[in-house]
Amino acid sequence: MMSERVVRVVCHYRDASLLERVIATFRKLLIDINWIYGRLVNDAGLYEVYLGVKDHHNFLAAVLDLSKIVNVIRVEILNNVDLIDLRDKGIFNDLMHTRSETFIVYIPQIGSTKCYSWGEECG
């Protein structure tokens, strides 16, 4: 399996086109997305999106492009990430009993991050 890169996008939600733009930034640079989840963090529209994407020579270009999209506050490249499969934690036992498919939630345990905002390294 190709190695995976994980990013966190901190952004402002106005409508769902925000998510389309985030995804399209990778798509335009021919990068496949393995998984994605996001959530509205607060009532002021702050939103965070996590993506696991296949490593690619265009990866940094995509992050830089993403960092300068209107409504995106910053993009963090999460390094040394541990992805926890919650099946192992027994949290979804009930669900697993009733459904045949697996249900995996990735929770990045962050080792270090590199952050970009409007093309500049930050944080």
């Binding site: 270009a61 209107v70 506050i73």
Partner: protein, 574 residues
């Protein structure tokens, strides 16, 4: 209480909008209803274009001349979708355009309603930003935001999509925003560090063969004067990108021309021979630098000034000095530093070499007439002689654009408008309309190809009815010449799908619109026609018959290096 449509028009007026290029339809009709009074009072001028693509190009042309956002409007569905080509053209060339589009009412959005299109879905990929409004009260703020986003950082088009019910809605408690408010937007900041300026100066002063590569950032920043001053102080020759050509007066003796795929051979050679290069406001697209090996070879030192730090970081080359900031501010910092140090830039050998390169390649370009009719370089030279130095020239896309890239002399900054990044055929005439609206006092000329002109020539009617006299010169080779050229040179001569027949007759076509048509057969005829057109101040179409086999040279083979420049047509053996 006022309507949402009234808020739109009033907000545009508050942004200083004097002209709107557009076409009304069901979903933006309420805006036109409010515009009625503003147009009657001559507060805002409306230019009725003949296709929305032309409206976007005209707004783009207006923006490129004034430096301020041009405004266009279209109705929902097909109207807005027709803007797409124009908006992506503006986006690729960093031109600030604000498009106000009507949308179907919210009650029917997403139900395949009459003239509905997914504007967010489409425009988010071809514009700097698109917003669909949810409440009429948002209109003043988002019009302000649109102008701010369009004109700051790296400029670009912004679309404000407004459902029809919001335009019709009655609004009280109107809040006029004094400042833009956009969550998650900030213009690129100037990050010009003293140590980078010192390092850049050190490299440039100590180089034996330094070169400046000027991009469109010089034009947008209004930094032509600073650029020339720096070149003079350093005795540093200048080459440019296609769009950067508009930033450098060509009578400056150290300017060599456009570099790149269809660039001047001496410009490409100077780049290859340079030992240090200062890239100013250029993103180094594949059209300018077809292969980065050319830049990286030979230990050349590279300094880049760009307002967008990602344009530098994304380059697959090692950059010695990265200066992130506005071009004018950065060039002034370099000038201030260089004026405070003692240096002796004689560079006799380098300047002699530049002169030698210019003279050597000139003999390939300036071939006098043969049995193949009027020569494009001489046609351009003839027109240049007759036009005032400050005349504004637009182009379409194709062979004629490449001839202009190499043989048109820009004498004043910001007097050449062309679609560089997107290469959009049909740009020339509507962009000329935008330029003429912006600067009615200037002579505006669309130097076009027949294929390109035919794509948006319906807008000739606009020039007549709006009293916008424009001179159109058509290099008529009855073919999509550049495609034909590539087929002949690189597809084994299998010419297919490119040649036109005898239709149309351009003189009759011009006359049918109320313009004047000329069919010229000699350079003297051409000169006379151009002079008459300028004097008569009426839109004129001058057809210049052009040999179908004429090539746009120099060129490179596909994916080739700047070293592989092709200078002449091998079939002619000259």
């Amino acid at each position: 209480m006022v309507t949402g449509a009234k808020l739109v028009v009033e907000a545009l007026k508050r942004e200083g909008v004097k002209v709107i290029f557009g076409i009304p339809g069901l979903s933006n009709m309420a805006i036109y209803d409010e515009l009625y009074d503003y147009i009657s009072n001559e507060e805002i001028r409306h230019i009725l274009m003949r296709h929305e693509q032309g409206a976007a190009h005209a707004a783009d042309g207006y923006a490129r001349i004034t430096g301020r956002p041009g405004v266009c409007t279209a109705t929902s569905g097909p109207g807005t979708m027709n803007l797409v080509t124009g908006l992506i053209t503006a986006y690729w060339d960093n031109s600030p355009v604000v498009a106000i589009t009507g949308q179907v009412p919210r009650a029917v959005i997403g139900r395949k309603a009459f003239q509905e299109a997914d504007v967010l879905g489409v425009m988010q990929h071809i514009a700097k930003y698109v917003v669909q409004l949810k409440d009429a009260k948002e209109i003043p703020l988002w019009i302000k935001n649109a102008f701010y986003i369009a004109s700051t950082g790296k400029p670009g088009p912004v679309v404000v999509d407004i459902p029809r019910d919001l335009l019709m809605a009655e609004v009280d408690d109107i809040v006029w925003a004094d400042e833009p408010l956009i969550d998650g937007y900030k213009p690129f900041k100037d990050n010009i560090r003293d140590e980078d300026i010192d390092k850049a100066i050190d490299i440039l002063v100590n180089a034996e063969r330094p070169l400046i590569l000027a991009g469109s950032g010089v034009m947008w920043s209004g930094a032509s004067e600073e650029l020339i001053k720096l070149s003079e102080l350093l005795l540093c020759p200048i080459v440019s990108t296609l769009l950067g050509k508009a930033a450098v007066p060509h009578d400056y003796p150290l300017y060599l021309g456009v570099v790149g795929y269809y660039g001047r051979a001496e410009a490409n050679m100077a780049l290859l021979e340079s030992d240090a290069i200062l890239v100013v406001g250029a993103r180094l697209s594949d059209r300018t630098i077809p292969t980065f090996k050319d830049l990286q070879e030979g230990g050349r030192r590279i300094i880049i000034i760009n307002i967008d730090p990602t344009d530098i970081k994304k380059l697959p080359i090692d950059v010695d000095v990265k200066i992130c900031g506005d071009v004018k501010v950065a060039l002034r910092a370099l000038l201030n530093r260089i004026l405070n140090i003692s240096h002796n830039s004689s560079r006799y050998n380098w300047i002699s070499r530049i002169k030698e390169l210019k003279e050597f390649y000139a003999k390939y370009y300036y071939v006098e007439d043969d049995e193949f009719g009027l020569k494009p370089w001489k046609v351009l030279k003839t027109i240049r002689e007759v036009l005032p130095p400050d005349a504004i020239v637009t182009t379409g896309v194709g062979q004629h654009q490449m001839w202009i890239a190499n043989f048109w002399d820009v004498l004043q900054p910001r007097t050449l408008l062309t679609s560089g990044g997107m290469g959009t055929m049909g740009f020339g005439l509507p962009a000329a309309i935008g330029a003429k609206v912006a600067r009615p006092d200037k002579v505006v000329v669309d130097l076009d190809g027949d294929g390109s002109f035919l794509m948006t020539m319906n807008n000739l009617a606009v020039t007549i009815e709006e009293n916008l006299p424009i001179l159109v010169v058509i290099f008529d080779n009855r073919s999509l010449g550049l495609v034909r050229q590539v087929q002949r040179m690189f597809f084994r001569g299998r010419v297919v799908g490119v040649d036109f027949g005898s239709s149309p007759d351009y003189v009759k076509l011009a006359e049918s619109f109320g313009a004047v048509g000329y069919d010229v057969g000699s350079y003297e005829d051409l000169k006379t026609a151009v002079r008459r057109s300028i004097n008569d101040a009426i839109t004129s179409v001058i057809r210049v018959p052009t040999y179908r086999g004429e090539l746009a040279l120099p060129t490179l083979p596909p994916g080739g290096s700047l070293k592989e420049v092709i200078l002449y047509d091998v079939r002619k053996g000259s």
